[in-house]
């Protein structure tokens, strides 16, 4: 269980820009095995929230804990999937997937055996010895996901992971992730700006306000597991998406200077 309590985070002033308060008084509880999407207008601090859960940055105030233990840095219970993949260009697909295990000092043959299982599961067979730049964006993110899963984390933190791949590939990756979530029962925190994606994947959608970000609403998706094939036919999903759209549009109009009379 991930608990976020009264968390504030500001970014210091830099290059003449004033300090900005990114998150203010964030409260959020995510249950074990739960799949939560975090959505919000751009710049609302959703990625910052994810990075704090990952332990890459620490909150200025408040506390984040996992199963009651406060987060003081990255840990083996969590793995991150990045928007820009962040693969190592000098390492092959197999070595990239095994990277987290390499950092833990696992011998090469052992970690490559685990990487091999992930290569199989992710449909990367035949690309083991390729370098990242030889792969399409979708394939690269499969490597990114395989690298996260290889360390067998209890919590998977995903930062707009499918935002930089094309629409068709995105749909396939979403379906694969949904299957994976149902099969492995990991806790997944999924940051996205895509409402359709949030509803399609998650058990619950958390809506953040514009900066300084706060949790405005927490909305259960209310669909059965496994997910129905065609979400566009599900009244619950249609209504939730329409509602989230209205909320986000309202926030954007409230903050955009152009809309003021």
């Amino acid at each position: 269980m991930i608990t976020v309590r009264h968390v504030d985070k500001a970014f210091p002033a830099r290059n003449g820009n004033a300090a900005t308060l990114a998150l203010h008084g964030v409260n959020l509880t995510i249950d074990t095995d739960e799949f939560v999407s975090v959505v919000g207008p751009s710049g609302c601090g959703k990625t910052t929230l994810l990075r704090m859960i990952a332990g890459l940055v620490l909150p200025d105030a408040g506390a984040i804990a996992i199963d009651g233990r406060p987060v003081t840095g990255p840990g083996p219970d969590r793995a991150v999937v990045f928007q820009q993949f962040s693969l190592l260009p000098w390492a092959t697909v197999a070595d990239n997937i095994a990277f987290g295990l390499e950092l833990r000092g696992m011998p090469r043959d052992e970690r490559l055996a685990i990487a091999d299982d992930q290569i199989h599961a992710m449909g990367l067979r035949g690309f083991e010895r390729h370098y990242p730049r030889q792969l399409s964006g979708g394939m690269q993110q499969r490597v990114g996901l395989a690298r996260a899963l290889a360390v067998n984390p209890a919590i998977l933190l995903m930062d707009e992971p499918f935002a930089s791949v094309d629409a068709q590939t995105r749909r396939t990756l979403q379906e694969d992730l949904r299957t994976l979530a149902e099969r492995t029962r990991k806790t997944i925190v999924f940051v996205t700006h895509d409402i359709d994606e949030a509803v399609r994947l998650a058990d619950r959608v958390v809506l953040l306000s514009p900066r300084p970000g706060q949790v405005v609403e927490s909305l259960p998706v209310g669909l059965s597991r496994p997910r129905p094939e065609d979400l566009d036919q599900e009244p619950a999903a249609i209504q939730l998406k329409a509602y989230l759209w209205r909320q986000l549009r309202g926030m954007q109009q409230a903050t955009s200077p152009k809309s003021r009379p």
């Binding site: 990952a54 332990g55 890459l56 990255p74 840990g75 083996p76 969590r78 793995a79 991150v80 990045f82 820009q84 962040s86 190592l88 260009p89 000098w90 390492a91 990277f99 987290g100 390499e102 950092l103 833990r104 370098y131 730049r133 030889q134 690298r147 360390v151």
Partner: protein, 260 residues
Amino acid sequence: MSRRPRFASLGRLLQDRRAGWLSLPAGIVAWEIAGRVSQFAFLPPFSAAVSAVWRMTWSGELPQSVAASLTALVVGYASAVCVGIPLGIVMGRYRRVDAFLDVYVTILIATPKLLFVPILFSLFGTSRLTQVIFIYLSAVVVITVNARSGVRGVDAASVEMARAFGATERQVLTRILLPGALPMIMAGVRMGMARAVRAMIMGDMLIALVGMGALLRKYGGRFDAASVFGLLLVIVGVALACTSTIRSVERRMTRWTEES
């Protein structure tokens, strides 16, 4: 009608990249002819230079001086690599170290290393050590600066990724920054070799009074043009061999950057 194909084949001949293989032989032939035709005493033909090399090789003085020069080169250059790469990496990673050392690096970039020769003379005399330090100083700056900018050029996202997967600072240095900076580091190592070779020759002639540069000075003083040109051939050969060795090491270590 019959001229067109000939014209086209001439065009193709001029486009051929293999012409590169002809350039050295053509230069040698031109040199040989110029040396034989001209009455200018200080331009011996190529063949005379080669036979001078032959003579100096068998007399033993050439192998001995090549060995002396190369020893100074290897010691000075190896120290430059061993200091320059870690120093550059640390300067690229830690702002405070960089802020502290940057002024010295800038000074060393801007000054001709020959300025240090009188100081080295006064400290170590005309010994091999003076020459080794001179070679070291000539090579270390470019290696350091390249390693530093290589580290700075590594994507910050890669460092963040490694930290997210639990990398220690030491692992960030060895698993992310070192391999990520390797293409730049190796380019610096290659440029450092060119500078070290130049410093080796200058050091031979000005400082140590041994090695190939000293031999060059000896025969130059006797106006023995054939031997001087022969030595130039050997020096060029040694320089090319050193830089191409480094280049092949570089290519092997940075294979991942090549186009697929």
